[in-house]
């Protein structure tokens, strides 16, 4: 409850962990046959994000909600310095992901929501040590932090097994652990509980909320299709539809503005009847 107000207390003006300003991203069409050779030079004409703007305050947790293809992953990948936007700008911890990608990566923890991304023949611990050292964590910090986080994620028994022997859910937890290892200021999570079983997902949400979000004050932007997860974790929700921002409000605000009794109902109404201004709710 307090976390959503933390960023407004200090100077009266909200400090932004993430600021997205008229951000747009288009991709080139996919060519086949001999024209595939021209693919790398094709003009970007297929819009994935259409000039969206919003801010995530320091210590705030914001969910990205939208149907498949709404632009959630594209947005997260731009902020993670893995894509370059077509127009508009973004700031993460005050740094530009395009012009100052190295600075952004210092403050960033990114979990792509897949169980890929590890060296299969190395153990979990070896993988974590490698990526931790690439983020300039000292051996002594890694020695202390890996077992501590592994305990949290119930990964203790898996750390010294080769990654290729681990299940999809375990790999997902390992990937989340990697994103948190260097204690980033901003955490970008793409469907973080997708492959977790119900108990592990619930544990993870609790850990994210209490330890990462409330205790450490880490700002979180996460994409999810799980509405109870969003209601539990998110201070505010960005609702995307076909690349456009149709609403940005608290879960209760979304329900109120759509006259809905549940977030699911509010989401359905918002994505069927787009609200074009995030500031001025329209009757639905």
């Amino acid at each position: 409850m307090f976390s959503s107000f933390r960023h407004v207390i200090s100077f009266g003006v909200p400090a932004s962990a993430i600021k997205v300003d008229s951000l747009a991203k288009s991709f080139p069409p996919v060519y086949g046959g001999w024209r595939a050779f021209l693919q790398p030079f094709a003009a970007s004409t297929c819009p994935a994000l259409r000039a969206i703007s919003f801010e995530v305050g320091e210590g705030e947790s914001v969910a990205l909600l939208g149907t498949n293809g709404a632009g959630k992953t594209t947005l997260l990948r731009i902020l993670a310095t893995l894509l370059i936007p077509t127009s508009g700008s973004a700031l993460l911890a005050g740094c530009d992901p395009v012009r100052d990608a190295a600075a952004v990566r210092r403050h960033l923890g990114y979990h792509a929501g897949t169980d890929l991304g590890f060296y299969a023949r190395l153990t979990g611990r070896e993988n974590l040590r490698f990526f931790g050292r690439l983020n300039y964590l000292s051996d002594s910090i890694l020695e202390a932090r890996i077992p501590e986080l592994a305990e949290r994620f119930e990964l203790g028994g898996f750390l010294d097994r080769q990654v290729r022997t681990l299940s999809s859910g375990t790999l997902q937890r390992l990937s989340l652990l990697r994103a948190l290892l260097h204690q980033p200021k901003v955490l970008l999570l793409d469907e973080p509980t997708r492959s977790l079983d119900a108990i592990a997902a619930s544990e993870f949400r609790r850990f994210l909320k209490t330890e990462v979000h409330l205790h450490r004050g880490t700002s979180i932007l996460f994409a999810s299709h799980l509405l109870p997860e969003i209601e539990f974790l998110a201070d505010r929700v960005v609702v995307l539809k076909e690349g456009s921002l149709v609403a940005f409000d608290t879960p209760s605000g979304l329900k109120r503005r759509t006259g809905s009794s549940s977030l699911e109902e509010a989401f359905a109404r918002l994505t069927r009847h787009a609200v074009h201004s995030s500031e001025e709710p329209r009757p639905v």
Binding site: F27, F37, P40, I84, L108, G117, F118, R121, L134, R178
Partner: protein, 271 residues
């Protein structure tokens, strides 16, 4: 500087740890090197003649000449293959994106991923030469090892530029790599691997001297077979350094441009 070296070593350590989980291939490579050395020995025995010895530099045997040519051609092959393979493996294993969201630079990732393969190639060459010396009389005593190291380093830098250019192509077009095939094809014919460049037609000799492998093989043969010192090989070493000075920055610029382009088109992880 120390930080950069430390970062590079992280990649070497990673690859060493991965390699330790595959022990069989290392033993098989030792055996393969034995058969490779034997192949060149018997081909040389078949074609060797006083006229051929006269045509070869330093009065060496065709066995020593062709073995040096073959094993050091492996360096060019490794350079062209290593950077490509590190990109393909990272892309397929899904580690490319996690690497690109860490704090090390792309250049470090690229160069760091090449260290282990180059070390392995060097060891493989050493094993080839050791088999050659132990079983077939390769004249290891004629080598000037400090010069060998200098030539090796200069060649490595020059070839790496070609390798990074090749990986830029791969990143952009995803499949196939005609540039790599062209360089390897031309180099195998016009690089002086198995016969002196001087027997080639004039136009092919011009191509040969536009290729760093020609200078690398000339200098390496002189260092290994004629005990040549660094000053006497100043010309080919300087030319190799010149290739490196041009190719390395150009290739890194090309790779950075390509990476940026894949971030625009969203094809960084596409196959």
């Amino acid at each position: 500087m120390i930080q950069a070296l430390r970062d590079l070593l992280l990649f070497f350590e990673r690859d060493l740890r991965i390699a330790r989980t595959y022990r069989g291939p290392f033993v098989l490579e030792l055996v393969e090197a034995l058969f490779g050395a034997a192949l060149f020995y018997y081909v040389a025995r078949f074609v060797d003649s006083p006229e051929l010895r006269q045509a070869l530099p330093y009065g060496t045997s065709y066995f020593a000449y062709s073995l040096v040519g073959f094993v050091f051609f492996d360096y060019l092959n490794a350079a062209l293959d290593t950077f490509d393979r590190s990109i393909i493996e990272a892309r397929d294993a899904g580690t490319l994106e996690p690497l690109l969201t860490t704090q090390v630079s792309l250049t470090t990732i690229l160069i760091g991923s090449a260290i282990y393969p180059f070390v392995v190639t060097t060891l493989r060459i050493a094993v080839y030469l050791a088999w050659g010396a132990f079983l077939f009389g390769f004249p290891l005593g004629a080598a000037n090892w400090p010069t060998v190291l200098v030539v090796l380093l200069a060649s490595l830098l020059a070839f790496s530029g070609l390798g990074i250019l090749s990986s830029a192509y791969l990143l952009l077009f995803k499949r196939g790599n005609p540039a790599k095939w062209l360089i390897l094809g031309v180099s195998s014919v016009a690089g002086g691997m198995l016969f002196p460049v001087s027997i080639l037609p004039d136009w092919l000799q011009v191509i040969a001297y536009l290729n760093p492998i020609t200078y690398a093989l000339d200098a390496m043969r002189a260092a290994l077979l004629d005990h040549a010192a660094v000053p006497s090989l100043a010309r080919p070493i300087l030319i190799l350094m010149l290739f490196a000075a041009i190719l390395l920055p150009v290739s890194l610029l090309a790779f950075n441009w390509t990476l940026r382009r894949t971030k625009v088109t969203g094809t960084l992880t596409h196959r």
